[in-house]
Amino acid sequence: MSDFEVRKGPKPEELKGRYEPSLLAEMFRRMNLIREFELRAIEERRGGLIPGFIHSCVGQEATAAGACLALNADDVITSTHRGHGHLIGKGGEARYMMAELAARSPGYCKGRGGSLHLADFGLGILGANGIVGGGIPIAVGAALGFKLRGEKRVALAFFGDGATNEGSFHEAANHAGVWKLPVIFFCENNLYGEGTHITRSTPITDLVVRAAGYGFHGVVVDGNDVLAVYDAVVEAARRARAGEGPTFIEAKTYRTRGHYEGDPQVYRTVEEVESWKKKDPIPAFRAKLIKSGLVDEGTLEEIQGQVMAQLDDAVAFASSAEKPKPEDALAGVYADTHNGLVF
């Protein structure tokens, strides 16, 4: 699958003493919340609550949860069109996410953004993004800001394999490398840029090769192993804070649903999808936790129950939340709107 060593997380018996049980439980909670949030959003979209696109990350929950939990609360991320996981990973609230997807006033963006533009600046989430590669220069700029102010904060840019063919990736990587900025380039290589397999769009399949061209440290991890992801980001963040420059992390993963809900998926076989479903990161982590003896089955079931209750609450909140008034569309374009008038 790769010419590089694909780092795996520790074996179940190696978890003890290395991770706080509370951290492991939180990882499990966030992965489940991401999965169930999306399945619920897809259901609610069919039911008519949600008017816009959904690009789900089902199958990729380990990258989002593992990477975000390895960051500090005041570190920042930029996300992608497949961003629900990143939002939840960084602490985004299901209620406000669901309300935004439902285009309601109390949603994260007051109904002006939708799934592709979810953001929570207070949590360091500088925004999902509707443009492939669009967030990468922004993350690098945030890292530049931290460096200029002498703050030991880190910016992490999530992006997919497809984004590494965008100019924005290369320009941003070049600045990050030459200025040794505290930034992490986190590539979720799920093998497909929309409907085109990586071998048909890109002359290499190990995207980590691109790290060297920009003077980055490069690492490949099993993106379906949440602890492998977590460990790699902890190390990358340490390097960033120590002034050792950027790290490119390539996480090998797969989305088991379509590029968007409704995607006919003519570009891949059912067998391929089924083979990846066997590598589902959530049951794998669950089994590892139980085997480790650090978190018992009862606790995991309790977490899953809490997640479902949280989503019931989020959907109830979103469905009963107020819709924006049509004229609200004119507000929030500028800080100063000249007595409420758009200009």
């Binding site: 007051k110 220069p137 922004i138 700029g141 102010r149 941003a172 600045h175």
Partner: protein, 327 residues
């Protein structure tokens, strides 16, 4: 009041704001060691050091995208784009990221980012280094578009841009950098956006002059005065927001409107202003609204070809005369 150049006025306000506020910094291609290919950042690296006067790669998308990211985490970046023509290299960052960050986030994101852009034809620079791209951005809500034409306006408007919370495209005509004018020394001197300047009062016709056309229009107005046509010259100073009130008031008085800019006529800033006048002031007009700008071809290299394409002082005078049925 002492007189300084347009270029010095811009440098002065950048330095004043950088001394006053540690979050302000300058970034762009060759702004540091080279001191700017137009010399605008002369001496700034020496005063502020390489951390705050940052030489970038030739990477317009990264320059503007990095500026946005820094702004989102509380900095106030000033980024320089050496030629307006290069803005297209950063198209996504400007149109889809910078302009929309606040709106998409429900009004939460603050984007105090100033993008300084040179504009206009400096002479035989040909098609990729001579454009006046202001109007390309008029159709993108979320940007403020500033077109200062004098040293004092450059200083006052740039201060407003730096201290503001919204992204600003600040267009500096290359041909005006060396022009001089009186500029206030008050360290808080600023000019609000959306307030046009009546550069000359008159009663017979209004010429709305944008950017580098202002000095040409002022000279044309002198010529016309000697012929008995008393021209009022209005410089909008900012295209977004546009001071419709002052423009309409002037046209109401003079009953004739000409819009002059160096951008191409088709789809240029004049098209928007003419449309606005036809919607809101048509009843006051005694003649068609006239647009004067570059002919609708790419800017050519040869001096003879270039001066044929660019709008001149004489084009303005001729245009105004035509509104009075004169040749």
């Amino acid at each position: 009041m002492r007189e300084i150049t347009y270029s010095e006025a811009i440098r002065e306000v950048m330095c004043e704001e950088m001394r006053r506020d540690p979050t302000v910094f300058l970034m762009g291609e060759d702004v540091g060691v080279f001191e700017g290919v137009w010399g605008v950042s002369h001496g700034m690296l020496a005063e502020f050091g390489p951390e705050r006067v940052i030489d970038t790669a030739i990477s317009e998308a990264a320059i503007i995208g990095n500026g946005l990211g820094a702004a989102l985490v509380g900095m106030r970046p000033i980024v320089e784009i050496m030629f307006g023509d290069f803005m297209m290299c950063a198209g996504d960052q400007i149109a889809n990221q910078v302009a929309k960050a606040r709106y998409m986030s429900g009004g939460v994101a603050n984007v105090p980012l100033v993008i300084r852009v040179t504009t206009g034809a400096p002479g035989s620079a040909a098609a990729q280094h001579s454009q006046s791209p202001e109007a390309w951005f008029l159709n993108i809500p979320g940007l403020k578009i500033v077109t200062p034409a004098t040293p004092a306006d450059a200083k006052g408007l740039l201060r407003t841009a730096i201290r503001g919370e919204d992204p600003v495209l600040f267009f500096e005509p290359k041909m005006l950098y060396a022009t001089t004018g009186a500029v206030p020394e008050d360290p808080d001197f600023s000019i609000p956006f959306g307030k046009a300047n009546i550069a000359r009062s008159g009663k017979d016709a209004t010429v709305i002059a944008i950017g580098a056309m202002l000095p040409k229009v002022m000279r044309a107005a002198d010529v016309l005065a000697s012929e008995g046509i008393d021209v009022e010259v209005v410089d909008p100073r900012t295209l977004v927001p546009l001071d419709k009130h002052t423009i309409i008031q002037s046209v109401t008085k003079t009953s004739r409107a000409v819009i002059a800019h160096e951008a191409h006529v088709r789809g240029g800033p004049g098209a928007e202003i003419a449309a606005m006048l036809s919607e809101e002031a048509i009843e006051y007009l005694d003649a068609p609204i006239l647009r004067i700008g570059a002919k609708n071809v790419p800017l050519p290299y040869s001096p003879e070809l270039e001066s044929y394409v660019l709008p001149s002082e004489e084009d303005v005078a001729k245009g105004v005369r035509s509104l009075f049925g004169k040749a």
